[in-house]
């Protein structure tokens, strides 16, 4: 099936938040602290501006709690007494003229008594730098399997390494956008670009001290998210709502690109250290892994990003003794947050680079080292999770090597590199996994709900809070419902997420939409078909033509009514997770990938070009070839950017290059065609047999590409992004032409 809203997007007819016609509205903007850390002593409004023309909101105008509602409530909606990062919101302004508003923002000065900030998550702390607990640690976690310390002592070979990754900006092409108003019934409403309607709803309830019926959140078409519109839109929504509440008017906040890049979350920078014990023939004996993530100024989602990072840190390998420790640490940077992969790309990068380093140490091919250690059915991950399903990992690896013509090409590269004065070619491999759905007992805790309504007009409506942001939710949900009921897709409609109309199917994150929420659609369809069968006196729940005939007959007799089928998440029987020990089934299942990158490095400029890329994966059953391939190509290219060019430059905890002019993301000319292959094995508990696909493609390219650069040049790069400047430092000048 073609993307359902595709033509509307291609013709330019799709109306995003900033495209909606509004009359008599105000623009809203944010005044930020300008100081990375300090005590607010005054806010000065320049007397040259006629402030009576503006709506002005400070923390005093918040009717409920001045806290952004998330895991911990440490972040204020508007800073009241202190600021913890340079872009912290302090004052909100609204005005009908956007230019006048822009000028006015520059005329408000937040006077701050500076306090000593922290920018390096590893630097020793002075007492006056403490801002969270006793050590500025947001979260510390540990995974233990076997006895890694003893096994390391006994191991014949021990290989160490330290790996670092930088922050990454999402660069969804539609910047953040939110519209707020109060409706005739006094309900505070927002509509805007967002991933998680119920996160925003909870934030509004908390800020306005209201129950769910006093607030309403509607998603507008969302021009990309990638995690960047997971938690941050809650802040913008509350800001817009505060301005609307105070002014009594509709208020629209659209971030300019520079504000969006400066003030909103990024991927967590990480430092990961590995100590690995292996036998001489490359069997893993012990993995000792230490992870530090820079959480930025507030807790936001750092604990769960760290958790996912930890769980994926030992890679898709079997090892009897594993010890992983991780900390997410406060710095006075803008808060880091969710970004496609959610901690796993960072730890996979470290582990997959480290596997190549181990292979080099042993004089073994990196492919062979992986083949000897890849998890087989029945073996266990670092948390003791037994691998029950999925395509054999070695089969995926072989398929990727075949598609890349790995051996033949490496031979040709060796000849090429000997002959060429300054170009060097190489290939790199990464094997990896990604858990679909919330981590641990997260899905149980969410207890997502979904409804499917059989309407008297003969259509079936899927009602969920899962959002379309480009990844194909609308199309895939339609397919799943149509297949579940065996009816044509044009009899299915998917409701637009609106918290007054749809149940909470959970946030649109964690590669959970097709697998977890899609499965709820199937169960709700069963429930609804059962009700319809009972209403028509049928002996069983009808499907296909019988369903449509029954629905048409029921609809004629019950005009304007509907039969609602419901489902709520129930974990598969086999899933057991122990939060105290961090042991058990961290995810109901994993998707798996084997990627091969080919690069060409120019030793004159130290620039690296990806010249070929093969992505083979097991994502369960593929529900839609074009959409699934699009997730992989998009993820791979985003990861190529992270690996080679996307560098956030920091100054006083703020991104200095907050423009697309100097934060460089890949263009069509910077990347090769991605060779995407799926090896399918339907997953019994996923919608239509699907597992997660959204995040997996972010995990493999970083290490595959740096492994290829190592292969091409003999350098041993351990830090992302591998910009020409970084690579230059790694290659002795004698090697350059």
């Amino acid at each position: 099936m073609l993307r359902l809203e595709g033509l509307s997007k291609l013709t330019g007819a799709e109306r995003y938040a900033d495209d909606m016609p509004l009359c008599d509205f105000l623009w809203g903007m944010t005044v930020r602290s300008q100081s990375p850390r300090g005590r607010i002593v005054d806010i000065r409004f320049d007397p040259s501006v006629d402030w009576s023309q503006f709506t002005i909101v400070t923390h005093r105008d918040i009717p409920g709690c001045n806290e952004v509602y998330l895991i911990e409530k440490d972040q204020p909606i508007l800073a009241a007494t202190h600021t913890r990062h340079i872009h912290e919101a302090v004052v909100l302004l609204a005005h009908p003229d956007r230019q006048a508003l822009r000028r006015a923002v520059g005329k408000v000065k937040v006077i701050v008594d500076e306090l000593p900030p922290v920018f390096d998550p590893r630097a020793p702390l002075a007492p006056e730098q403490l801002q969270h607990g006793t050590e500025n640690v947001f979260k510390a976690l540990e995974i233990r399997k076997g006895d890694a310390a003893a096994a390391l002592t006994a191991a014949p070979v021990v290989v160490e390494g330290e790996y670092a990754t930088g922050a990454q900006e999402h660069v969804y092409i539609e910047p953040n956008a939110m519209i707020a108003w109060t409706d005739e019934a006094g309900v505070i409403c927002v509509r805007g670009s967002l991933q998680c309607p119920y996160y925003v709803l909870n934030a509004l309830k908390h800020a306005f001290a209201r129950e769910a019926d006093g607030v309403r959140v509607i998603q507008t078409p969302t021009g990309g998210g990638f995690g960047g519109k997971e938690d941050y839109p809650s802040i913008i929504a509350v800001h817009a709502a505060l301005l609307a509440h105070k002014s009594g008017k509709q208020v629209k906040i659209i971030y300019d690109r520079d504000e969006d890049m400066a003030a909103t979350t990024k991927r967590h920078p990480s430092i990961v250290r590995h100590r690995t014990g292996v036998t001489k023939d490359g069997l893993l004996l012990a993995q000792d892994i230490d992870i530090i993530m820079d959480g930025g100024a507030y807790v936001t989602l750092s604990p769960v990003v760290l958790s996912r990072g930890l769980i994926h840190a030992a890679g898709p390998y079997s090892c009897a003794n594993v010890h992983v420790r991780g900390r997410a640490v406060l710095t006075n940077c803008i808060p880091h947050g969710a970004f496609r992969g959610f901690g796993a790309p960072q730890t996979h990068f470290a582990n997959e680079r480290h596997m190549d380093r181990i292979a080099a140490h042993l004089g073994m091919s990196p492919v062979e080292l992986r083949r000897r250690n890849l998890l087989k059915k029945g073996q266990t991950t670092s948390t003791g999770q037994v691998i029950r399903d999925g395509v054999d990992r070695c089969e995926l690896l072989d398929a990727a090597l075949d598609a890349a013509r790995y051996d033949a090409r490496r031979q040709r590269h060796a000849e090429f590199n000997r002959a060429h004065p300054y170009l060097r070619r190489g290939m790199g491999v990464a094997t990896f996994h990604h858990g679909a759905g919330f981590t641990g007992s997260g899905e149980d805790y969410l207890a997502s709900k979904l409804a499917v309504a059989a309407r008297s007009d003969g259509r079936v409506e899927v009602r969920s809070a899962s959002t379309e942001m480009g990844q194909g939710t609308l199309t895939v949900f339609t397919t799943i419902a149509a297949e579940a009921l065996d009816i044509p897709a044009d009899r299915v409609v998917v409701a637009n997420p609106d918290t007054h109309l749809v149940p909470n199917s959970g946030p649109t994150v964690a590669s959970r939409t097709a697998m977890v929420v899609g499965h709820l659609i199937e169960r709700a369809c069963d429930d609804m078909a059962g009700q319809l069968g009972a209403a028509r006196g049928l002996s069983s729940a009808p499907r296909g033509g019988a369903f449509l005939a029954a629905l048409d007959a029921w609809g004629r007799e019950n005009p304007g009514r509907e039969l609602v089928g419901r489902a709520q998440y129930k974990k598969p029987e086999y899933v057991q997770w122990y939060d105290k020990t961090y042991q058990g089934d961290a995810y109901a299942t994993f998707s798996w990938g084997a990627y091969v990158a080919e690069v060409e490095v120019d030793l004159r400029t130290f620039s690296t070009r990806v010249t070929d890329f093969v992505a083979v994966q097991d994502i369960g059953r593929v529900l839609n070839d074009t959409l699934a391939a699009g997730q992989v190509t998009g993820g791979v290219v985003q990861a190529i950017g992270w690996a080679l060019m996307e560098e956030c430059v920091w100054e006083r905890g703020a991104m200095k290059n907050n423009q697309l002019t100097n934060y460089i993301i890949p263009t069509s000319f910077d990347v090769p065609e991605i060779n995407v292959k799926f090896i399918q094995s339907p997953y019994a508990h996923g919608g239509g047999g699907a597992k997660g696909v959204g995040e997996l493609p972010m995990d493999g390219p970083g290490p595959a590409i740096l492994n290829a650069v190592a292969d091409a040049t003999g350098a041993d790069p351990c830090e992302l992004p591998l910009t020409p400047e970084r690579l230059m430092r790694l290659i002795p000048s004698g090697d350059a032409p």
Binding site: G6, K9, L10, T11, L627, L660, S668
Partner: protein
Amino acid sequence: MSHDTMHIAFTLNGKAVEIDVLPHERLLDTLRYTLGLTGAKEGCGEGECGACTVHLDGLPVNSCLVPTFQVRGRDVRTVEHLSPALLAPLHECGATQCGACTPGVVMAAAWIRDNSHLLSRFSIRELMAGNLCRCTGYDGIVHGVERLVASEQGAA
């Protein structure tokens, strides 16, 4: 505010238009906020992303960088003017995901189709490099443009 406005006339999607604009007004804002043509998007406001691409006298330009008064007497075409039939190849190949870059991508694609002689010197990837897309990884776009050009040549 006491800016003097300027009165200009130009052709927009084949029709004559006359409006008053501020001297510093951007074509993108005039199209979106004054004329209600919201197809072109603002992705960056500084000429980097191409989401605001429109055709000016047949050439793709970033409308966020064009002061509106400069289109006086000229021919402006926006995504709203394209025939939906032309978009099928892009649709089939997965050229759009979130859609924020799409109107710009479509305008660049239409320009390539109308000037396919360029393909003897430049690749589609080169010609599309002014349009950032964060979703597709570009393969869907590149394949879509290939198919669009092929279908045009087949029809010619």
